[in-house]
Each structure stands twice: as structure tokens, then as C-alpha cells.
């Protein structure tokens, strides 16, 4: 049980890395959508 913080840290770190990457994809997609709107005008 003493080792549980390490287990929690490893699982949390995994999802923090994946979610951070997903956020960068979503932000880049939003920026491109704005660029497309700008090009259409």
C-alpha cells in the first residue's frame, strides 16, 4: 500500500501526457478553422 502513490503517479502521468497532446491537436484544428474562415472572406 505504501507504493500506491507511485502507481497513481504513473497512471496520472500517462493520461496527462495523452490529454496534453490531444489538447494541442484540438487547438491547432481550431486555429486552422479560423484561418479557413479568413481565407473565405
Amino acid at each position: 500500500m505504501r507504493q500506491n502513490p507511485y502507481l497513481f503517479a504513473a497512471y496520472a502521468a500517462t493520461w496527462i501526457i495523452h490529454i496534453t497532446y490531444l489538447i494541442t491537436i484540438v487547438r491547432r484544428y481550431s486555429r486552422l478553422q479560423r484561418e479557413i474562415e479568413g481565407l473565405k472572406k
Partner: protein, 230 residues
């Protein structure tokens, strides 16, 4: 295809939740390491997924070198980027597991060092893609990807060829594993592979859109009258 994607997202979410349940509840507690051994169910599938993505990158790079199709180039870029993300997970979860078990965060043994070198090669690949504006960039990147892929078998088999602190591989290592542990491991691998596929799909669409926007900008600048032409 747009209707299929949300369905796959939901299915992958369910699979990841089931895999987490398998890892934390169903799989038995390992006798010597205790609960910290459950890091194994995220660490090992992440490594396998990263290796598969690097091999996809290798195949797509070879295809690009032969046929010079932009689709192959996009697949190579996307698989390398998502592979680096999974390899980062491996390099982060490994030391977190090593600290309570070995008493140290890191040791410069062959498996750990070769994994770090592999990660650095693919990070270099992504830097090359990101910051080089030369028309030859995809070609240079494809050549670097071939070099990177050669390191993948070296990383995997390094624990056979060298004396290392890292445990032997789960498959082909000669040891035995509880069937419930193996089940949890394979379910987690399946879940992370599905997740990686969806991330690659999203990133592929983003890259295609990026290239379309770049093309539209280039066309616009060509068609616009320049101020210097008097």
C-alpha cells in the same frame, strides 16, 4: 467516415475503462513488488504501441522514398508524432516504477539508454519536419526514419544481448505470467492500440487540412497583385 469516428471514440473509451478495471481490480497483486507492479499494464502496452507506430513510420517512409506520394509522407509524420507520445509515456512511467522497486529513478543500462536514444532520434525527426522549410525535408526525414526504425529491434532485444537491470520480455522471455495478468496486459494493449489509431486518424485529418490551408495561402499570394509591380 465522420459518423464512424464518434462511435469509435465511445467504443475506445469503454475499452480503456474496462482495461483500467482489469489492471487495477481483476489482475492479481504481484507478490514481491505489490501494487506498484500494476504500472506494468500501462508501461508495456505503451512501449509495444510506440514500436508498432515506429514500424508504421518506417513502412510509410520507405513507401515515400519509392513512390513520393504525399499520403505516405503524412502517414510517416503522424505515426512518428504519436509514437513519440507513447515513447514519452514509457520513459516517464519506467522511472516511476523503478524508484520503489530498484531504489533509483534511472540507470544507464542498455535497455533504458537505447530507449532514450530511440526517443531522441524520433524527436529529431519531428524537429526536422517542424523547422526545416526545404522542399527536400520529407526526403531527409524519410531517410532519418529508416535509421530510427533500425534502432527499434535493438531496443527490444537489448535485454537479451546485454546484462541489464530491466526485466526480461513478457513474450519470448522464458518466464511465466499469471493468465489474469496476461489478460489484463493484452486488454490494455488492445485499448491503447485503438486509442493510438484514433489519435493518428485525428492527426492525419489535421495534417491534410494544414496542407490544404498552406496551399490556399500559396495560391492567394500568387494571385494577389504585388505592391512592388509598378
Amino acid at each position: 467516415m465522420k459518423k464512424v469516428f464518434p462511435i469509435l471514440v465511445v467504443l475506445t473509451g469503454i475499452l480503456l475503462s474496462y482495461a483500467l478495471y482489469q489492471a487495477l481490480v481483476v489482475a492479481p497483486t504481484e507478490q514481491t513488488m505489490g501494487n506498484v507492479q500494476r504500472i506494468f499494464y500501462y508501461h508495456v502496452p505503451s512501449a509495444w504501441t510506440a514500436f508498432i507506430l515506429f514500424f508504421v513510420n518506417f513502412g510509410a517512409s520507405i513507401a515515400y522514398l519509392i513512390k513520393r506520394r504525399p499520403t505516405a509522407d503524412i502517414i510517416a509524420l503522424v505515426s512518428a508524432e504519436v509514437g513519440v507520445v507513447f515513447c514519452t509515456v514509457v520513459l516517464v512511467t519506467g522511472p516511476i516504477w523503478a524508484r520503489p522497486v530498484w531504489g533509483i529513478w534511472w540507470t544507464w543500462d542498455m535497455r533504458l539508454t537505447s530507449t532514450l536514444v530511440l526517443w531522441l532520434i524520433y524527436v529529431s525527426y519531428l524537429f526536422l519536419r517542424r523547422f526545416s522549410s526545404s522542399g527536400e525535408t520529407p526526403l531527409l526525414a524519410a531517410a532519418l526514419a529508416v535509421l530510427g526504425a533500425l534502432c527499434v529491434p535493438f531496443v527490444y532485444f537489448s535485454i537479451w544481448f546485454f546484462r541489464t537491470q530491466h526485466p526480461q520480455p513478457v513474450m519470448g522471455g522464458g518466464g511465466s505470467i499469471d493468465p489474469r495478468m496476461m489478460h489484463a496486459l493484452l486488454i490494455n494493449w488492445l485499448a491503447f492500440s485503438c486509442f493510438a489509431f484514433l489519435v493518428c486518424w485525428s492527426r492525419y485529418r489535421l495534417e491534410k487540412l494544414q496542407r490544404e490551408v498552406d496551399h490556399a495561402h500559396a495560391m492567394k499570394s500568387l494571385l494577389e497583385p504585388h505592391g512592388s509591380a509598378r
